[in-house]
């Protein structure tokens, strides 16, 4: 099965930080990847590089069997969608207009939304529990509502690969679970996949089947979550003592 996204010997450096070195990543349909690492390790930059928003230093990035630079930006926007962490909106419109903007890659030449686009935007708003707030101006929304709006935008965009930067930001604990469950549900069916940067190792344990650990000095570890998420590796990653607590069916890391 062709992977949705793969890299061949991808190297990336920002300033003095070697984010990754000769990374060979393969994201197959149905997988859910988590990127973990200490602050400043370059997780966001790597995500943006994989999304084609930031140039890599060496190596290749392929969507299916096509190289990233050969894909038209508009077509790329159907292959992958990004949930941003800090992308401020200026002169914002209403919540509905913002979610509808997610449909842009699917619009015709004139950029006019069809009834189907409007319907998909409404469905995305309902899926994220934001119904009733459609006409609210974006700058009056709370942090959590904003984050759910961003998720609704991504659902409306409906790309093949969801690339999430800190999807649980600003969300209450219950919403973190609901939104991640929603995203995982949408993005691991129909030959889609998900890759997300997370701070919370336990959310990663719960939702990701594969992990990529970035140390920030060019060292990296990746593989199935069960093999990667060991006490030893997590302690190495964060330089902090940690113990893995197991109860029936679930496991979670406790930072000492």
């Amino acid at each position: 099965m062709t992977p949705l996204l793969s890299t061949q010997t991808l190297s990336l450096q920002i300033g003095a930080t070697q984010v990754c070195r000769e990374l060979d990543l393969e994201i197959a349909p149905g997988q859910c990847w988590g990127i973990l690492g200490p602050n400043g390790a370059g997780k966001t930059t790597l995500l943006h590089t994989l999304a084609g928003l930031h140039p890599g230093d060496a190596g290749r990035i392929l969507y299916g069997d096509r190289r990233l630079p050969d894909i038209h930006p508009r077509e790329l926007a159907k292959l992958r969608g990004v949930l941003f962490q800090n992308e401020p909106q200026s002169l914002p419109g209403t919540l509905f207009e913002s979610v509808l903007a997610g449909r842009h890659p699917h619009l015709g030449r004139l950029g006019w939304e069809t009834p189907l686009d409007l319907k998909l935007a409404r469905q995305a708003i309902q899926a994220t529990g934001l119904q009733g707030l459609e006409e609210r101006s974006v700058h009056t929304l709370s942090g959590g509502e904003r984050q759910r709006m961003e998720i609704a935008m991504l659902l409306a965009q409906a790309p093949g690969l969801g690339m999430l930067d800190e999807p649980s930001n600003h969300l209450d604990p219950d919403q973190q679970i609901l939104m991640l469950r929603l995203l995982k549900d949408r993005f691991t069916q129909y030959r889609r996949a998900l890759i997300m940067v997370l701070h919370d190792i336990n959310l990663a344990m719960r939702f990701c089947d594969h992990l990529l650990l970035l140390k920030g000095n060019g060292q990296q570890l990746m593989g199935p979550a069960g093999e990667i998420a060991t006490e030893e590796n997590i302690q190495w990653l964060y330089q902090h003592p940690v113990s893995l607590l197991k109860t029936e069916g679930t496991a979670c890391f406790y930072f000492l």
């Binding site: 930006p73 990004v82 992308e87 200026s90 419109g93 903007a101 409404r122 101006s137």
Partner: protein
């Protein structure tokens, strides 16, 4: 499901009506007042009367030029605001008109013929645009850097303007001051400004859906399939060329580019598919009305229209600011 923009169509119809009423008021008012009925027949039939000549040789060209210049200025302001993602942006703030003014005043000081003024203004504006581009464009578009460089550049032009003014012989000063304040009394060939307006409007309408995305931030716009670098350069050039054209026709008229998109955003939201045509209609109407007042307030003397747009613009802007802008700074 109805498209959300359908609800905004009555607003555009209203603005269209306002535009026609403004044009009518401007044509009817002046040294001789002409009744609506007479105006209608004068527009379509040549009676050979003085009134016919007043309308066709003086008021109609000036009114149409005024409308076109107002529309062009509003469009340029709207584009700059989308480019800089800052509701306070306006081509004038970036020093474009300052560059034009220095070139025109220099030409006046050197005694170059009147016909040189418009080309000089256009050249000065373009030079300022390129200078700003060269100074502020370092690899990527940092809107703060562009805005700050523009403000400093405008201050530099303003110093040069004072310098030229202080060197100029007193007989030339009134002409120079009128030009600096913006004046439509010499704008009697509306074909060029109307052509510029039509081109600018078409280009902006074509860009409108992409402009909406540009407001969502460069990375997000790029992730949704916009070639953001190319879009930025295109908006910048389009807005600058529109400003240069407006300045070369009517001098440095301020506030239309700032006020019109603002007033519209308060009622129409932030979709450029409405803002583009709406700003043109509103900017054109505002300048036509301001020019009518400039011609008639202290007749037979004429005020430079830029004085009126600033006098009206400042309180209006402060009012809008206090009312709570729809697009607050991030």
């Amino acid at each position: 499901m109805r498209h959300p923009l359908r609800r905004k169509l009555p607003l555009l119809a209203l603005l269209l009506a306002v535009a026609f009423i403004s044009l009518g008021i401007s044509l009817m008012t002046g040294s001789v007042d002409i009744a609506p009925g007479e105006l209608w027949s004068l527009l379509w039939q040549n009676h050979g009367s003085t009134h016919y000549r007043i309308i066709h040789e003086l008021r109609l060209p000036r009114t149409l030029s005024g409308f076109a210049v107002g529309g062009v200025l509003a469009l340029a302001g709207l584009l700059m605001q989308a480019l800089l993602r800052n509701p306070l942006a306006d081509p004038y703030i970036l020093g474009v008109s300052g560059g034009a003014a220095v070139a025109v005043l220099g030409a006046m000081l050197l005694g170059l013929p009147f016909a040189w003024q418009a080309p000089m203004a256009f050249g000065g504006a373009l030079a300022s645009i390129l200078l700003l581009f060269g100074l502020a464009h370092s690899g990527n578009w940092d809107t703060n850097r562009l805005l700050l460089t523009g403000v400093v550049l405008a201050a530099g032009w303003s110093a040069l303007i004072s310098f030229v003014l202080s060197l100029s012989p007193p007989v030339q000063l009134p002409g120079m001051l009128f030009w600096l304040m913006g004046d439509l009394s010499d704008a009697l060939s509306p074909a060029l400004p109307l052509g510029v307006l039509a081109l600018g409007l078409l280009a902006s309408l074509w860009l409108a859906p992409t402009l909406n995305l540009a407001l969502l931030g460069p990375a997000r716009a790029a992730s949704l399939g916009v070639r953001i670098q190319r879009l930025h350069i295109f908006i910048y050039l389009l807005a600058s060329l529109l400003t240069a054209a407006a300045v070369s026709i009517a001098g440095a008229i301020g506030f239309i580019g700032l006020i019109s998109p603002h007033m519209l955003r308060l009622v129409a939201g932030n979709d450029h598919r409405i803002l583009v045509p709406g700003s043109v209609l509103l900017g054109g109407s505002l300048l036509v009305l301001a020019d009518t007042a400039a011609r008639t307030l202290i007749a037979p003397m004429q005020l430079p229209v830029g004085v009126l747009t600033a006098l009206l613009g400042v309180p209006l802007f402060l009012f809008l600011l206090n009312r709570g802008m729809p697009g607050r700074m991030p």
